[in-house]
Symmetry: C2
DNA sequence: TTTATTTATCGTATATTTACGATGAACGAT
DNA sequence: ATCGTTCATCGTAAATATACGATAAATAAA
């Protein structure tokens, strides 16, 4: 690997951080729960379950859509939002791979390094 | 469950979002990789591997420390940073539980809901 | 056609994040 | 005691995120 590359961020690192960003607000965590567990899909229904204004919820939905975690199907004036389970699976894999990678280094402790 | 509770965020939702926030920057994703895989622990060593100034890296380390993903042991003028593997495990569990919960709703598709 | 419903977007205010240079504090080495 | 090294913190600028009211667009219902 080229020496300078070490100082850059990889695509994997950037993508993982981007997904984490999409999950970095309680409202978005909750919206995904709602969409995956309740027979609910319209923006207005979600608004009724959150302590936020409609415009704000719409913004959060947009952020989740941006990274593909949900998709919206427009039906006239309404929009039906649903979890994109394919993305969820891909994301689950990426995250668990990352966390496993971290855990592999468990033998490297502060005591080992300080020497 | 009380009716108003639905409109609030739970502690679990807030905590999960908070961890996601700590992971929402490529630099912090990479710092955790570095600390878990290389025999590296000092701030200066990490700075050498990132395209960021020392002050900025120090800030990112602070954020990772805030949520307990790393810990720092001061040794005179130096500080030895290490991954906190206990936290990593707890976080891994929380995240995988959450993603499993989402995946359980897979039968609830847009088509089902629209009807 | 008019009205009501639903949602996205605009405008805007405020808060937070990110980044960096400069500086100070802590210590080891000379 | 002075100097060099290491790192955290301060000050600050710029960018991004969060929140909401107002409004526009789309359409169903009257």
């Amino acid at each position: 690997m080229a020496k300078t590359k070490v100082k850059e961020f990889t695509r994997g690192e950037i993508e993982l951080a981007d997904v984490a960003k999409a999950l970095s607000h309680p409202a978005r965590i909750k919206i995904l729960k709602i969409l995956s567990s309740l027979n609910v899909c319209m923006c207005g229904e979600i608004v009724d379950l959150l302590p936020l204004a409609q415009a704000t919820v719409s913004q959060h939905l947009k952020e989740l859509k941006r990274v593909g975690l949900i998709q919206g199907e427009i039906e006239g004036p309404k929009t039906c939002y649903c979890v994109n389970f394919e993305t969820i699976k891909k994301v689950s894999k990426k995250i668990s791979q990352y966390l496993e990678l971290l855990n592999k280094g468990e033998n490297i402790s502060c005591k080992t390094k300080k020497k």
